[in-house]
Subunit: 185 residues, 2 copies
DNA sequence: ACCGGGTGCGACAAAACGCCGCACCACGCC
DNA sequence: GGCGTGGTGCGGCGTTTTGTCGCACCCGGT
């Protein structure tokens, strides 16, 4: 894992150890050289050393915010591909992130495939037109609900009780929702 | 309205006549010179003529999509401030829009004040750090549901039956939800 | 006048929710 | 080892919300 030849290098910055290592493993399985960091300043140092093609950074980070890292990295190398992750898909933060130099912005839970797809899409400057003539593409209420639950849940590290409190419903209800939906939308 | 002296010029591109004229009036009241267009290609021509500082364009537009307009305008004058509006706040489209040159992206319903605020914020290159240490700012499930309903409903021009269909629930249920929540969340 | 489509509302069974309690497990602490 | 704390899974039960009818009404078009 020390040979840098032929391998693309990815740097994952996230304070969630489980998520970070899972993501790293996924990238390794796909032939990447991976580096992980839970800490912002450490990540900056690491980036210096390993010269990654791709950096994945969580918005919410202890110490310096993920946005600071994006800014710093982007200042150093504007061509660097930085993908931002976050628990809540907020448009405002997404815009800020891209303004600071992030190439893309994804909501957790995002798996390696999604990230890689985003990466590839960025590499080729083709802009896929998103829902333009939609109306039919309206997300169902259930879908919106489900996605929001997933976001909050991920943000609580899977803590159902806490997530339920934040979502404003009963723990039991959240449990039931979770045990019902999983199959699919 | 022909004198370009001292007045800032804004161009509003939206096929919703009511919304467009409302927005125009609001801007006029605030001392702007306003131009409106419901059509994409007409908007491009108008932009050529009036040389606006600010362009507000809806994502969903007949003929060419709002994104095309953003791209075209941005190509002509990269420094132009373009603010994108849309019914659904989708992160993906927001990113695409900014990549194409939009300066900001707002969800409808957005009033002139919000837009102006966004404009001012863009003018000054200060980047306001958005919710960084949130956790407390988690929108409740009910809130998310309500907002989504409002968006879809607005998109259906208030047609409850159609909105209910799109949302994946019964007309009766939507009615009940609407008659319950209205006060405020 | 007639019909299609949208709205408001009453009614009733079915499903979901709020809420309680209990058993169980993993920690951290004395 | 004991013990308290906090999270989870689950059963049950009363209440609330949905789904699904049906019906009366209004409006715009042929």
């Amino acid at each position: 894992m020390t040979e840098t030849v032929g391998k693309s290098v990815v740097l994952v910055v996230d304070d969630d150890d489980a998520f970070r290592s899972r993501l790293c493993r996924a990238f390794r399985d796909r032939g990447w050289e991976t580096h992980g960091s839970a800490d912002g300043s450490a990540a900056l140092r690491l980036a210096e050393e390993c010269g990654p093609e791709l950096v994945i950074v969580d918005l919410r980070l202890p110490g310096m915010g993920g946005l600071d890292i994006v800014k710093e990295l982007s200042d150093r190398d504007p061509s660097l591909c930085i993908i931002m992750l976050t628990g809540y898909g907020s448009i405002a933060t997404a815009l800020t992130a891209t303004k600071l130099g992030a190439a893309h912005y994804l909501s957790k839970p995002a798996d390696a495939d999604q990230i890689l797809e985003a990466y590839r899409r960025i590499s080729s400057p083709v802009v896929a037109a998103p829902a333009a003539g939609d109306t039919a593409t309206v997300p169902s209420l259930a879908r919106v609900e489900w996605e929001h639950i997933q976001r909050v849940l991920a943000d609580c590290d899977g803590n159902i009780s806490q997530a339920a409190k934040l979502l404003g419903l009963h723990r039991r209800s959240l449990q039931r929702k979770l045990s019902k939906y999983p199959p699919r939308v």
